[in-house]
């Protein structure tokens, strides 16, 4: 390497030396980055997905279990020195040994990456057996943040974890961060729970009321606060983030599932956060509100993915509104036709009212007892009798079959 005395050469020299010493400092925009890491959470390894068929369940479990490997590959690819998992790495307090073992094996596949696991509310410290096994079997590149004590990530960076002591601690576990002085070191907070906010708990997360102050990163002088619990990615503030789960596990509408790639150059400097998609499967929920005049088929086709992508989709359709018998049957036929394209496809038509018209009823019969029966059922369906509506729909399908 030629050395000219130019400032860049000094930086390059420093980088070379530091690289040779094994520290991961990668420059961007000409400045030295002290630390680059991945922020993820809520892996929920071992989640059962019992509501699905066996083959779908198996596919979901396998995809879920591969999250760790994908995170490790991403960290290697993007030269991230650490992967921070902000809680709920495991779905249950006593996951099966294979779930734990495979996770640890995947972690150990990336020995140059340091992993940090924080206890969440699903895998809190009350899960004594789980943490006993982790402590016993953890590879060298896995740190277990089970104490509210600072962890040095590198010479200039310290991690301040707030492990969940129980499923419902009921208090702010991040409070200790305010009083812990680390000088000029970069301070990264790691926590799990809901932000205390004016939004409802349905909007914020699935736990019992928020306990983490929204300004914790400011009050504790954190350069970045990595939080877990909410499965969708949320930017609470420029340096306070929910990473969301890297692999979706429900039909709730989220931002793109993945993780955060975070770079920090110095204490007090803004963190650079890049949202990196990572999910392999897509969970899509579609609400369709129909009126009598709506063309369901075109509406539906506009919303469903390309046929070549559908096998990676779990698709849930909820239909509301009113449709004629004929259109309803058309919709059923359409769903039957497209369902096999998807990994999972389900439809809820309980909110779709039947609007029988003369044409539909004529298809049943124009006169006689059949028509009278259709008329009676239609009238009752109009009155809100769902059973009558279903009966009328069946009568229509039988009559169509007769035709």
């Amino acid at each position: 390497m030629k050395f000219s005395g130019h400032a860049n050469d000094w930086a390059g020299l420093a980088k070379t030396i530091l690289y040779q010493r094994g520290l991961r400092l990668v420059s961007y925009s000409g400045a030295l980055i002290v630390i680059r890491f991945l922020h993820s959470s809520d892996l929920h390894l071992g989640k059962p997905f019992g509501r699905f068929d066996e083959d779908v369940r198996a596919a979901l479990k396998v995809t879920r279990q591969s999250i760790v490997s994908r995170l490790g590959s991403l960290a290697q690819e993007r030269q991230a020195s650490h992967v921070l998992l902000a809680g709920d790495t495991f779905d249950a307090e006593t996951p099966p040994p294979r779930v734990i073992r495979q996770m640890l094996n995947d972690v150990s596949k990336y020995p140059d990456v340091t992993w940090v696991i924080l206890p969440g509310n699903h895998d809190s410290l009350a899960a004594t057996e789980l943490w006993r096994v982790l402590w016993r079997d953890a590879p060298k590149n896995l740190l277990l943040a089970t104490e509210a004590e600072a962890i040095t990530l590198n010479a200039q960076t310290v991690l301040l974890p707030a492990p969940c002591t129980a499923r419902d601690p009921g208090r702010d576990l991040t409070a200790w961060m305010e009083n812990h002085d680390t000088g000029d070191m970069i301070r990264i907070g790691l926590a799990h729970g809901s932000i205390r906010d004016f939004r409802s708990s349905d909007d914020i997360g699935d736990t019992n009321g928020g306990v983490i102050p929204p300004d914790r990163s400011t009050s504790a002088k954190l350069d970045y606060l990595a939080i877990g619990d909410w499965h969708g990615r949320i930017e609470v503030s420029p340096n306070t983030w929910y990473s969301g789960t890297p692999e979706p596990d429900s039909f709730k509408e989220h931002r793109t599932d993945g993780c955060n790639l975070v770079e920090i150059s110095a204490h007090g400097q803004p963190a650079k956060v890049e949202e990196v998609p990572l999910g392999q499967l897509v969970w899509r929920h579609l609400d369709i509100d129909l009126t009598e005049t709506d063309d369901f088929s075109s509406i539906f086709h506009d919303q469903i993915p390309d046929v070549h992508q559908r096998q990676h989709y779990l698709f849930e359709v909820v239909m509301n509104g009113r449709q004629s018998l004929g259109h309803r049957q058309d919709a059923i036929d359409l769903f039957k036709k497209v369902a096999p394209d998807f990994l999972h496809f389900e439809v809820d038509m309980s909110g779709l009212s039947i609007l029988p018209d003369t044409t539909d009823l004529d298809k049943i019969d124009t006169t006689g007892a059949l028509r009278h029966a259709a008329d009676v059922l239609a009238q009752e369906a109009e009155g809100g009798d769902k059973i009558a509506a279903s009966a009328l729909a069946r009568l229509f399908s039988y009559a169509e079959g007769e035709a």
Partner: protein
């Protein structure tokens, strides 16, 4: 529709011929021909023309083909909506259908279109057109006795066939076969999931079973998870308790507490030892006191004996000399004993210092102390054993008894008395020497002015000069002398028996024996106090302690131990005691000898002077007093020592802690330590067991299984709900369909009943007919209030009812503007004359606005029917 003509070509018996029936009018048209003419053929052809497809080659068509074969042609002219039409069909050969305008002969439709036109004309459905009503020949369905199932079904189908002509019309309002199929599909779908009673079956039951199974599985898994959580909580508690038990501070506190309790117990035991020793000292002091008391008593006896011994004159000087020698010796021993005593006290002081040093250095094992003590006890015991042996030896060697002494003393007194008397009465001789030579009297030198009592036989020798032998010659003292001699002899015998030479020796011997007895008793008492369980027990214990002491000695390398010091001190004290005893004994001995000397001196003085002084001279009063004082002083000293020892014992008891309390404290401390250790061990085992259980339970992933089962259960429950909804919807649909069909039937049959009523009245008066709602068959006839099932009626009545029913439907259709011809083929064959007339009346009533075509072979019977009677024309085919 109204038929006008019918043409058959090459049909059955009309093979190669054309048979034509023209002139069918509006009302009744009767075709009356003989049997085998072909009337039924006309009926069948008419039926085939309207209900069989031209392409058919089924049994119905084949049955109309003549034996000679060939194609069949059937044609009919009919009016509909004011227009005349002609329908032709060819079967089996040159198949085809054609519909012509009857007036212009213009082809309206052909083949399929022609058949479709006819189908529309006659209504929907096959087999039951609304455009034609008929009653076949003999098709009444009369059931023969013992008919087989096949025959019964055939007959049931035949009966149904009676009404089949109206089925189409009925179907039009009840939904017909389409209703049946839809209903069947609905029922099939319902039966796939529910039984007729509404119980789940098929997929629904499977879903319910799966739901129940998952529910049970969930309950089991929930229970297992609960057990796992409980096990985890218990393990946390066990670990917390183990942590507390293994706390170094807590363990140290227990150990320190135990150590303190052990030390306190050791001190209490040592104190108990000291108390035991003090008790022994008290006993010894008490015994010493008792001994001195006894000695004092003996002194008094001696004094009394001194009184007796006063009379012992002869041996006093020798005794005095001897006693003086003994006195000197005893004095020397006394001095020696006192020196030893001083040395012993000095030694004790050193021992005490050594003990203090030992006490300061280290705590000695109690075993060594006990060993030393026991050794000391053994030593003392041995001494006392020796003393006992010595005493027993003395006792054994003493042959004299008190009786001997008493007797000897008596004899001595008598002898003394006799001698005194003799001496008093006997002449006496007083020698006054003139030279230094001295006379001998009875072997003894007589002093200057010595008084010699003369008695018979007395000899006085003047050495070298002469020997005087005195003989009294008086008889009065002979008796006394004899007695004297006897007494002397007896006394001598006693002394010889006792191997003694004098009464004094006898007294001394008995005194020694008494002293020996006293020493033996004292020694036994002391021995008993020292070794209550016997010396062998002490030896055995010493053996044990010696062995233990060797171990302790092996570890002890610096200075003497406390026990050794105590032992040494005790030994010194014991030695001092012994020395004190010896000193005292020496003192006593010295005193005794001195006293003897004095006594003997006194006796000698008494003897020197006279009996009276001897009687009064009990010795030196001062000496005796001094001796007695000394003895009293010793007694006081011994008493004081006893009191001191007792006080010391009491002080020790006051100072000592309640050993039961100390022992209880030690037991508590030991129990606490043991309990902690046992608890630690038990918790360790429990922890191991819990770890194994948790590993096994957690290894099964039961939480994951539980959550998965819960979600599967929710999904299955939703599926169950869907089945329930579907069953409800299908049931609802069936219910509504049945209700609507029933309603339609009711709506339909009402008018039919109205049309049927007047016709029934013609035949049966006030009668009513009920129809089966499913089979649309007449079912029950009510006459005069009696209900009769149709199949229980006569064949004629059934036949009549079937025809009347057709006629009622026809009238109904007519009222609706749909004219339907009624065709009867050899009907009313079972009716009697009366009934047949009534039927004719009914037929005529209906024929007012209804076309009725009657084929019959009963020309005469049907002559009364009336109506138009065309002739069938038969021509050969060209």
């Amino acid at each position: 529709m109204k038929l006008r003509s019918l043409t058959l070509e090459n049909i059955r018996r009309f093979a190669g011929k054309t048979a034509r029936l023209d002139g069918i009018g509006d009302g009744i048209t009767v075709v009356s021909e003989a049997n085998e003419f072909g009337k039924t053929t006309f009926f069948d052809a008419l039926h085939a023309l309207f209900f069989e497809k031209y392409s058919s080659s089924g049994k119905t068509i084949k049955s109309m083909q003549p034996p000679s074969g060939g194609g069949l042609r059937i044609a009919a002219e009919f009016e509909h909506d004011g227009a005349l039409y002609r329908l032709e069909k060819r079967f089996l050969s040159k198949k085809g259908a054609a519909l012509f305008n009857g007036a212009t002969n213009r082809l309206i439709a052909q083949d399929g279109e022609a058949e479709a036109w006819v189908t529309r004309l006659l209504g929907e459905g096959d087999g039951g057109p609304a455009g034609l009503l008929w009653v076949r020949q003999g098709v009444l369905g009369l059931e023969a006795e013992n008919a087989s199932q096949g025959e019964k079904k055939k007959l049931a189908d035949a009966r149904r066939d009676l009404m089949s002509s109206v089925m189409g019309e009925i179907d039009a309002v009840t939904g017909g076969r389409r209703m049946d199929r839809i209903r069947k599909d609905c029922e099939t779908d319902l039966r796939a999931i529910a039984t007729p009673t509404g119980r789940p079956t098929g997929g629904w039951k499977q879903a319910l079973d799966e739901q129940a199974a998952l529910q049970g599985e969930l309950e089991t898994l929930t229970g297992q998870c609960s057990v796992l959580q409980s096990t985890l909580r218990e393990r946390a508690q066990v670990e917390a308790e183990l942590f507390r038990l293994n706390d170094p501070d807590a363990r140290k506190r227990l150990a320190d507490d135990l150590d303190a309790a052990q030390q306190e117990f050791g001190k209490a035991q040592a104190q108990e030892g000291r108390i035991a020793e003090a008790q022994q000292r008290v006993v010894i002091c008490q015994m010493e006191q008792d001994r001195i008391t006894r000695e004092l008593s003996g002194f008094d006896d001696k004094t009394r004996q001194f009184d007796l011994a006063v009379s012992q004159l002869a041996s006093l000087n020798a005794q005095i000399a001897e006693a003086s020698e003994q006195e000197s010796a005893s004095k020397a021993r006394l001095v020696e004993a006192r020196q030893a005593l001083d040395a012993g006290q000095a030694d004790i002081q050193k021992r005490r210092e050594a003990m203090d040093q030992a006490l300061k250095r280290e705590k000695r094992k109690s075993a060594e102390q006990e060993l030393v003590r026991l050794n000391s006890v053994l030593k003392q015991a041995k001494e006392h054993v020796d003393a006992i042996s010595q005493a027993e030896s003395v006792l054994k060697s003493t042959k004299a008894t008190k009786a001997d002494l008493t007797r000897a003393e008596g004899l001595a007194r008598d002898i003394l008395h006799a001698e005194t008397v003799i001496a008093a009465t006997a002449p006496s001789l007083k020698l006054r020497y003139l030279s230094d030579q001295r006379a001998m009297h009875d072997g003894k030198s007589v002093d200057q002015d010595g008084l010699i009592a003369l008695h018979d036989g007395s000899e006085i020798e003047f050495p070298g000069v002469a020997k005087l032998v005195f003989s009294s010659g008086k008889d009065g003292s002979e008796q006394l002398r004899t007695a004297l001699e006897r007494n002397r002899a007896e006394l001598q015998a006693i002394l010889d028996n006792c191997a003694l030479s004098s009464v004094d020796e006898l007294i001394n011997a008995l005194r020694d024996a008494s002293e020996a007895e006293a020493r033996k008793v004292t020694a036994k008492q002391v021995l008993n106090a020292l070794a209550p369980d016997g010396i062998d027990a002490i030896h055995a214990r010493v053996k044990e302690l010696a062995a233990l002491g060797q171990e302790l000695d092996a570890d002890d390398g610096e200075g003497v131990t406390v026990d050794e010091a105590r032992h040494a001190l005790r030994s010194s004290e014991d030695a001092l005691n012994t020395l004190q005893v010896a000193s005292s004994a020496a003192q006593t001995s010295y005193d005794q000898h001195r006293e003897t000397v004095i006594r003997l001196g006194a006796e000698r003085n008494v003897c020197q002077q006279n009996i009276d002084r001897f009687n009064h001279d009990l010795g030196d009063e001062a000496a005796r007093s001094e001796l007695k004082s000394k003895m009293l002083s010793d007694l006081a000293t011994a008493s004081q020592k006893t009191n001191e020892a007792t006080q010391m014992l009491e002080d020790l008891r006051k100072q000592s802690a309640d050993i039961l309390t100390v022992r209880a404290n030690l037991q508590r401390s030991e129990a606490a330590m043991k309990a902690a250790n046992d608890r630690r061990a038990a918790l360790g085992l429990r922890q191991t067991d819990l770890n194994a259980r948790i590993e096994a339970q957690a290894g099964q992933g039961i939480e994951e299984k539980r959550d998965e089962t819960a979600e599967r259960l929710e999904r299955v429950s939703q599926r169950v709900q869907r089945f329930e909804d579907e069953a409800a919807a299908l049931t609802k649909l069936l219910t509504v369909l049945d209700a609507m069909r029933e309603q339609a039937r009711e709506t339909y049959f009402g008018p039919v009943q109205a049309e049927l009523e007047p016709l029934l009245k013609i035949l049966h008066g006030e009668a009513a007919l009920q129809f089966d709602s499913d089979t649309v068959m007449p079912e029950v006839l009510t006459r005069n209030g009696d209900e009769e099932r149709l199949d229980s009626l006569s064949g004629g009545t059934q036949e009549q009812i079937a025809i009347l029913t057709r006629l009622a439907f026809a009238r109904l259709f007519a009222r609706q503007g749909r004219h339907v011809p009624v065709v009867l083929d050899d009907a009313l064959v079972f009716s009697d004359d009366d009934r047949i007339i009534r039927m004719f009346t009914a037929l005529n009533r209906v024929a007012l606005d209804q076309q009725i075509l009657v084929f019959t072979c009963r020309q005469m019977a049907f002559a009364q029917l009336g109506g138009h009677q065309p002739v069938i024309q038969i021509e050969d085919l060209h």
